[in-house]
Amino acid sequence: MLELIDVIKVSAGQTHIHPTNLKLERGTLNVLLGPTLSGKTTLLRLMAGLEKPTSGEVRFDGKNVTGNPVQSRNVAMVYQQFINYPSMTVYDNIASPLRVAGETVDVIDREVKKVADLMRLTPLLDRQPLSLSGGQQQRTALARAIVKNASLVLLDEPLANLDYKLREEMREELPKIFAATGSIFVYATTEPSEALLLGGYTATLHQGRISQFGKTIDVYRAPRDLVTASTFADPPLNTIGATKNGASFLLDTAGDGKSATIPVPDHLGGIPDSGVTLAFQPHHISLAAPFSKAPALSVKTLISEIAGSESFVHVKFEGRRWVILEHGVRNIDPDININAYVDTRHLMAFGTDGLALSAATPEKAPEKASAKAPAKTSARKKRAG
């Protein structure tokens, strides 16, 4: 188990990591999700021992390893750039950490072949890295990290330099590969969709702070605060200020006499009357009412983007930019006023302090959800063909 206890990193008077506590278990995949400069790489370097925390403690399996250099820890790292020994074959690249560790030829051969098989590199073992595709090069680097049997494997945006399709394939493969080893994996990425595809656990990072840590899908479904919800939204989260007044939310408008309200859904009924920020994902607002009596808001269209199976309609509502995710091809002219319907069943509300006022999905407890239980979902009418 890897523990960060009150870890702080300050350099040149700037706080890069605010007091951070984190516990990562063996055999888990943990995603650090956040934009550029949110502290992902610094956190990885602190975990690796490449940097020493300004204060606080790093423990491995209960032992204090703060300040121990990276060489004395059993750590492997994979970077965005494909780093391999260009003059060595793939086999020798993978074998190199075992040779450094003084393993016997037999052990090396067995381990290299096992990992090569796992990483689908077996037919390429005699090739040199630069003659391989980017995906194969990065798989070689990953294989080298895995063969060490390091207790901690740190991956800093490992797929960022790969083609989109290769990334997709690797994302599907990686969880299987991770599951086949007992290491702690920490995977930094800027992309919410990548975190969701990888599954496991996610820590959302914002300006050097972890805003939430938990099972990936739980953090996505039940963000504890607005920062987490925004970090974990792609397309970006739609938000609007509002005041709760009994059974309605009165939305913040430009004050030109217009007013817009949406009814308070059941799961938010318990929150006190006050100023809130309402938020909803782009697939929870649509141009067709998702259920009867869904509240309609008049929005102004900006631009439509068609992405094949779905379309992203960019709109403006009271000075706010929203994205509406529609299924199928929807090409709507800019600068027209249309009705959009918020699926209030998935509406989230945050207080002035940014904290969630109620779980976004009432049927699920936000934390400690029983592992592996198949998600029971509310029965809804089947989609018509």
């Binding site: 934009p35 550029t36 989109y164 290769l166 900006l302 983007e305 094949g308 509310s378």
Partner: protein, 356 residues
């Protein structure tokens, strides 16, 4: 602004190409509309960058001609072609202010300060850089600098075309949404001919009116985003566009029916296929429905990816992916049905029409 005519263009990097395999670009013969937004989409090594470089004049094609508005520019330099380019990594003068960086391409061509100020102000407004205008570019984040690079590409109003080479690679996901829609709005307003190279299907589809899908040195399909999604003309397009890509099954055709394993699927048309051709049925994960009746599937895994779920299953001994909505239920004895409009038939990897 110009129409771009690619007249029987082929390109080989070696000296004496003898077989089609020697060509990085096999043959491109197309006319691109004035004011169109085109995306060149494909994996590494497919020839998309070669084609872009031929358009920009960085590479002279081994064969064929390139014309801007019917004027042969094949032998003209990049500068003489009067085009703007935006690259993958920011090209910014650190010691200049943001404003001066944007003004640079205009001042370079002797544009008067009044016009410079008007254009630069518009770009600053559009890219939301107004409050940084007087600051030096040094110290800005990579995505800020890339915004400036984009702005520089867009600032001139007299260019024949604007070429983008993976311009959003270094941009964070949230900023991508903003820049993409701004670029698209700008295209609508300005009417520039734009060519955008990327390996990212979302960027290509959302940006372009017409997406040019390239594979192995050739264009496999030019189509609207909807066409590429609904009627991929080659199984590669089916695979490359869509996440997950299209499911492809080997089938035996019997008149208006296709046989997958022991199951028979009604096509409603008889595909015309020559003897000996490899026949396949392609269906996207979005056009499959999990139902209580239909063809039985064995579910291996359900990936909850937030707004939808990807069901990984076996159908007739083959792995398939099926996309279902976030709140849909999966029956205990799952079966699958294919939606008619999503079925495509392929002969030797090329789509067979619906002609009876």
């Amino acid at each position: 602004m110009a129409k771009i005519n690619l007249d029987h263009i082929r390109h080989a990097y070696g000296i004496r190409p003898s077989s089609p395999n020697d060509y990085a670009l096999r043959e491109v013969h197309h006319e691109w509309n004035d004011g169109g937004a085109y995306a060149l989409l494909g994996p590494s090594g497919c020839g998309k960058t070669t084609l872009l470089n031929i358009i920009s004049g960085l590479v002279r094609p081994s064969e064929g001609r390139i014309l801007f508005d019917d004027k042969d520019v094949t032998h003209l330099s990049t500068e003489e072609r009067n085009i703007a380019q935006v690259f993958q990594f920011p090209v910014v003068y650190d010691t200049m202010t943001v404003y001066d960086n944007l003004a640079f391409p205009l001042r370079n061509r002797g544009v008067g300060e009044a016009t410079v100020d008007k254009r630069v102000s518009e770009i600053l407004e559009m890219l939301d850089l107004k409050d940084r205008a007087r600051k030096k570019a040094r110290g800005l984040t990579a995505d800020m600098k890339q915004k400036i690079s984009l702005g520089r590409g867009l600032v001139r109003s007299d260019v024949n075309a604007i070429l983008f080479d993976e311009p959003l690679t270094v941009i964070d996901p949230h900023m991508k949404w903003v820049l993409r829609s701004q670029l698209k709005t700008l295209h609508r307003q300005s009417g520039f001919t734009m060519v955008y190279v990327t390996h990212d299907q979302t960027e290509a589809l959302t940006f372009a009116d017409k997406v040019v899908v390239m594979y192995d040195g050739q264009i496999v399909q030019i189509g609207t985003p909807a066409e590429l999604f609904e009627k991929p003309s080659h199984t590669f397009v089916g695979y490359f566009i869509g996440s997950p890509g299209m499911n492809v099954f080997p089938v035996t055709l019997e008149g208006k029916k296709a046989r997958v394993g022991t199951m028979s699927i009604d096509l409603g048309f008889a595909p015309k296929v020559d003897k000996g051709q490899k026949t396949e049925l392609g269906i996207r994960p979005e056009f499959m429905e999990i139902t209580a009746k239909g063809m039985p599937i064995t579910i291996r895994k359900v990936e909850d990816i937030g707004r939808q779920k990807i069901v990984r299953a076996d159908l007739a001994g083959q792995a398939v992916s099926i996309v279902v909505k976030e709140d849909s239920e999966i029956p205990s004895a799952p079966h699958v049905t294919f939606l008619d409009q999503g079925i495509n038939i392929y002969a030797d990897s090329w789509r067979v029409g619906r002609k009876a």
